[in-house]
């Protein structure tokens, strides 16, 4: 990144709100989803089922991680301020995702990559709108939702790719 581009980002970041607060209390929904996960936990000992159970845990984690978007101690992620904790989780999930999609059949991989690009384009669309209307609580909530959707998406795809055999040989 050039110094000029970096400075431009920093100037843009400085004009943004310091915090992005959800327009409502999200905890009841998180609590309900964590509880729901416990109810639907599979009993069986099969391998891919365990992996999907792990994915369910990841969903709960990602929900919590997404809340970290609203915390302080923010750093840029693709030019947008997020909490440093969130960026660490995002980087880890993204790395696993990038490794795991290599094992998918080519036609599925194309779909997966295209749709992730759509999600990220949506994030950019919301960020642009927030620059125009930074105090808009609906946009702030949609931003949190799509960040969460991106994390869930990458986690789900990583887990589903476990269904493909011969991963180490591809």
């Amino acid at each position: 990144m050039s110094e000029e581009h970096y400075d431009e980002l920093m100037r843009a970041a400085a004009e943004l709100p310091r915090e992005i607060e959800p327009s409502r209390d999200l905890w009841p929904g998180i609590e309900a989803r964590i509880g729901q996960k416990a109810v639907t936990e599979p009993r069986s000992s099969g391998s891919w089922v365990r992996q999907f159970a792990a994915a369910a845990s990841l969903v709960a984690i990602s929900v919590l991680a997404t809340l970290w978007v609203v915390k302080e101690n923010q750093v840029p992620l693709n030019g947008w301020p997020v909490s440093s904790d969130f960026r660490i989780v995002h980087a880890s999930v993204n790395q696993t995702f990038q490794e795991q999609i290599q094992v998918l059949p080519p036609e599925s991989r194309i779909v997966v990559v295209k749709n992730l690009a759509d999600i990220r384009a949506s994030l950019e669309e919301i960020r642009r709108a927030l620059r125009e209307d930074p105090g808009n609580p609906m946009l702030q909530q949609l931003l949190v939702t799509v960040y969460q959707q991106e994390l869930n998406y990458m986690s789900d795809i990583s887990q589903m790719s476990q269904l493909v055999p011969g991963r180490n040989d591809i």
Partner: protein, 294 residues
Amino acid sequence: MKRLVLTIAILMLLPAVAAAKRIDERVPLDEGGTVEVSNISGIVEITGWDKNEVQITGELGDDVEELAIDAEDDYVRIEVKIPSGWHKHHPDASADLYLRVPHNARLEVGTVSADILVDSVHGVQRLHSVSGDIDTELSGEDAQIKTVSGDVRIDAEGTSASLTVTTVSGDARISGIAGDLMASVVSGDLHIDAEELERVRMKSVSGTIDIRTGIPNDARFDFEAISGDIEMSFRGDVAAEFDLRTFSGDIDDCFGNSPRRSSKYGPGWQSLFTEGDGNGRVTVNTMSGDIECR
């Protein structure tokens, strides 16, 4: 606990040039036991029956390595095993599996491109496929359905259940569901036709959400979309508080209520109104998607 492991070692049994292998196996399973199936391509068709056993019939492609069946009293795992690098070097690694299972069996099915069809099974269902289509009937138990590009069709026959559906680009058609519904799509479309739902939470990036349902007292419906449209139509009397907001999309005149600008100078539209006694709540947020009431 007794344990039974059956392995049909196709490569060991067959000569180098071989025809597809037919299978016909039966293993006992307790009422309410779990049936887990893992297949790559082909089909997995599961039908409930009155017997406390699992019947597995079908055909394995030439390049299938083995069909592993691992059975306990309350658990049967069926896995189609194929050689590494299957999609490059083993074009006939598909398996068509036709299962009969106890009506109340719990299903855990995962496939890559194989379609999944379920009929007359009343236990909890977890059905996941990367690119295969999923077609199932629900009878009141919870279900979790996930695909990447496969389409989903669910008929809940009017029973109450907690249903979670996730697709990426696949379309989902859900009919007859009552109770709770959580659905998430990226570019696929969601079509819901329900008599009455109590809790609904749906998210879409660019896919359309099209829902027709009754809305009982104390119902809670939440919809969020970025560029996808939300199209709602309600059966019967409506008693709910509506909170409809969009940043750059359009909002219909819902129940005769015209939208107004969210702020005097900024962008955005909203429509906030109460219909009937307002016990329920419908919240819709979109970035650029349109909101329609029909």
